[in-house]
Amino acid sequence: MALADRDPVLRIPFWRNVKTIGILAQIVFVAVIALGVFVLVTNTLNALGRANLPADFSWLGSRAGIPIAETPIPYTPNDPYWRALLIGFLNTLKIAGIGVILASLIGIAVGVMRLASNWLVRSIATVYIELLRNIPLAVQIVFWYTAVLLPIPPRINNPIEIPGGLYLSNVGLAFPFLYPTYRFGAWVPWLVLAVVVAVVGVVWRRRLAQRSERPVRVWPLPLVALAAIAAGGYYVASLDRTLPDGLAVDFTIDRGRGVVYRDLDGNGVRGPRDPLMPFASTIVRIAEAELTASTQNITESGQLVRSTFRFPMILERNVEAAVVDFGDPEEAAERGFAIHFTRFPSRGVVYVDRDGDGEFTPGEESDAETGIGYGGVRLVMTVVGYERHIVADRDGQVRTPAFSPSGTVRSAEVAPALNPFSVFGGAAAAESRDDIVPLEADVELLPAGPLVLSRVHVPVSSYEGGMRLTVNYLALLLALVVYTSAFIGEIVRGGIQAVAKGQREAALALGLSPSQTFSLVVFPQALRIVLPPVISQYLNLTKNSSLAPLAGYGELFVIATIVQNQTGASVPVALLLIASYLLISFVFAFVLNIVNDRLALVER
């Protein structure tokens, strides 16, 4: 009875039921959040609508019109915005990927050096870390770019030549590179086979090692097999020396530029449907032609260079004969000019032989009284039998110096006063070139193996062929690598010191050498401690690459800023930026966390 009386009191009304309250509170919470988001979104959309700014992504398909210097995939300003942004994204990956690898290598080296027993080595590492860690990254980027890489290397038409075909100038670094040709497809099955054989081999050797009592080397045999099959396949794939059907070259000699393409419709003219032929191997021959240059007084690598002339880089072995003479021989004779080559036939100085010894003496390249060099002296190079092996670039393009027909050296006063009203002012100038008799260039297409070695050359005033890294990229890369490696170095040092001292002593007591102790005992254990903080340094490096505007490198942030400026789509661009950086960070974190899990101590 008593229970029944108390029952209505015991029944809790639903609004006081903890369960209901909990659910209600969550519904209210979600509703408030949803309302907040709704207000924010509609408010933004309204504001954007009022300002006539795009709030969606429809502009992604419009023509971008932005010129971009470094494009990992083919790109022209006529491509849409999404492609420009994609290029920015790839450029970010290019700097982050290489940067992470280099920063790790340097960081580990510095971290190990900090613990070295040698005082000098230890001190160098300490100074390196303390100095670089405490200077803001932005300052370092500006330093590498404007204080080191722009002023110190020589200019593009006088690059430092490093053995192995490397060229360094203040435009950037370029080196020979292997590129896949049209015949690469024939090699691919062999490569697949080689990899499969190698994998099977490794598995087999591992099993053998487990069963065997004696030590078995797992890697050498499968690797030899891999190399042998790949090399054999390369040879077989290169046997067929025929060129693809309809391969042709459209060469515009007065522009010094040609395009290798496949004339699929067979009309002998390059149409819009004819595919370009990347990395085709060609030989360009020009019977006789002329180039002009003027002497200049310039500051290069911090030094004043007087009376110097630089023709486009023509190597002696590429020509049968090359003669350099004055554009105005009478005037030159009158003023007593002579030519001294620093590198025949492209580079040299004009001087007056004052001491009469018949050769160039330093000091003779400038006026004795004023000390001013002889600027603006016109020189003409006549080239006979130009012949050069040129590998087309990614867009099927081959480039030679812009030769003029022999004997028709253009006068210096070509520039007609263009009508300032005409927006396409240069058209008139282009027409005036029609009266020049076109030069004859003979372009021979060579059969190629699956890979072709593309060498660097400087036909006009930028690198062609090979792999090219701009000075903007190098400056940003250097700054990021050096800055991040200082942090990684400290992390590595901490990780090594965290390995129990007894481990090292035990390893040494077992008779392992100090290097074996380090690589087999200490470092693997240190790696476990080091990896998580190093992952966050990798992410830092990636995000810090958005300081690229300081070095003029066209990565994602730079291109996104330009796109935002052109379209006014600030919110969509910001969203894309956030999504891109999140994506990169997530992928990094995901991959490295898997590695981390595998390395982590398995406790039972």
Binding site: P67, I298, L418, F424, G425, A427, G552, G554
Partner: protein
Amino acid sequence: MRKTLLVLAVLVLIVGTAFGQGKLQEVQARGELRCGVNQTLPGFGSVDAAGEFEGFDVDFCRSLAAAVLGDANAVTFRALSAQERFTAVQSGEVDVLIRNTTFTLSRDTTVGLNFTAPTFYDGQGFMVRTDSGINTLADFEGRSICVQSGTTTELNLADVLGALDVQFTPVIFESAPQLVSAYDDGQCDGWTTDKSGLASFLPTLGVPSDHRIMDATISKEPLGPAVLHGDDQWYDVVKWVVYATFAAEEYGITSDNIDEALESPNPQVRRMLGVDPDQVQGLGLSADAMYQAILQVGNYAEIYDRHLGPDTQFDIPRGLNAPYTGGGLLYSPPFN
């Protein structure tokens, strides 16, 4: 929520009164003109050693102040960046924007500005080394060009050289000083921006005589004062003060001889200088407004020569910026 409503109401009130009053009355009541200018473009708008603003654009601010307030020094200058400038006009922070701003359709419509007569007809040009062998745009084939981002220059560059089928390497920079040092160090064969900008930075290069500005012009960049859309009276005032500087040059009136010009029988001159007061007063200004502007700051030619003319380090030829009588585009409607 109530607080927000209150703030909104106050804002509406303030904005309402500000609009109700009109910019001209607002400026006159305040006793000083707020003028948005550049401080990083020598010749057009920069700060001298004494901390004073000077330049071609700056002088038009002074002319306007002289006309509206009778005192060419009654100006507060606001140095604005390219990104800030439109917001500053929209928010009413500046009364007028005279900061080498190009008159374009979208700025007239979406940005909500009204442009007066252009004070400087500019165009995108190229700077190259004199000995580079580059004489026409076609000579940029295979070469590199430095360009500043965030403006129309990179679009013009790609469009024009693309139309000429010239393949070049662009090197894009965010700030002008960075670009100039890269060009000076020889990273690029050429450098493109507005010709006025080229002329303005030319003297800062290592050896200025080694460089020249090419003749080719690839875009139209009419630069002029801009005011906020929607205040016709203020727009008229700014517009006619600019015209007065054009007209004064056309009629040969300078700050030196203006008192003699007051005796002129030419009815145009008499109306402009307020000898016949009705026309200028119709703008809501005092009758001697244009007289004060020209007396205190000078006519167009004086302003031009003071900052950009042959006696300055820039020495920019008048070109399109000559009176229509001299083959240029400066043309003032009649003061009738």
